[in-house]
Symmetry: C2
Subunit: 170 residues, 2 copies
């Protein structure tokens, strides 16, 4: 059976070494907090304005934009060499667990990445090398979450309340 | 609705400030890699030898001890100020997602913590201050995972294949 990590590499086309090249430099020290705030603001401004793909925007309709921005930049800061802002406020990032309410499909991953690529390009102070490293990390992680999302459809071994039938394996 | 973090604090009795006091010092720099390896080795040696609570030991019966040890110390190292060893090898820790196959009950959390407390006490070079900080973090995180485990039983809104009924919200 493929691991989450193997699926992530296969689907994203980004191998592990490239995905985690973000750890070769301390990107937080290099770019600074404000750059991460700007990046996430640019990203969610795009997402909440996504009129081309209404299904994608609707995934975020129950979340407040300001909160989404803070959650994201705090996680990025923590993951890319800065202080554990996210964990201190909200506990372990638990990326798969916290994405559980959302349909993290291949298509949703691609749309997320589309907006993130544009956001990276439109955020000043992110140099080309940092951009490539971050994009590889994001691409790999997006598909890691698609792999995590598929866990939801496994292990649905709960007896069905609507009928007398029992699940196949019991 | 309570957040995962709020449930973790309530059930563990450890507030957020105490849980994340591990971030006040760089415990990896203070204790060194070998201490973390020793701690996880002590912990899993206890767990795999747990004959008093067979149900607890059986949770780990499909996992190799050496692998469990490495997974754990790499995560601890990464979370407590060291290099992201876990993420580079296996991707995001995704604590809730990766614990999904296991029954992370209140009782299991307490047994895990029981062994961890003993393991901390029997690992040389872990001073009292570090031990308290780590134990608070572990206690909070264990109950964070109990809260995460309960997500599994929510959102069972999948159309029932056995009958014609549809889920409540559709």
């Amino acid at each position: 059976m493929q691991t989450l990590q193997e699926k992530a590499s296969q689907w994203s086309g980004v191998d592990t070494a490239d995905a985690f090249a973000i750890d070769d430099t301390n990107l937080f020290q290099k770019l600074g907090l404000q750059t991460f705030v700007n990046l996430s603001t640019n990203f969610y401004t795009r997402v909440y304005d996504d009129e081309e793909e209404e299904w994608f925007r609707s995934i975020f309709s129950n979340s407040k934009k300001e909160e989404a921005i803070q959650n994201q930049y705090e996680f990025f800061v923590q993951r890319m060499g800065g202080p554990p802002l996210y964990s201190q406020r909200k506990g372990h990032p638990a990326l798969i667990g916290r994405h559980r309410p959302f349909p993290v499909t291949h298509q949703a991953a691609e749309r997320w990445l589309y907006h993130m690529e544009k956001a990276l390009e439109s955020t000043p102070d992110i140099d080309a090398d940092s951009r490539v490293k971050m994009m590889n990390f994001f691409r790999h992680t997006a598909f890691f979450l698609v792999a995590g999302d598929e866990l939801k459809t496994q292990k649905q071994q709960i007896p069905c309340k609507h009928g007398a039938s029992k699940p196949a394996e019991s």
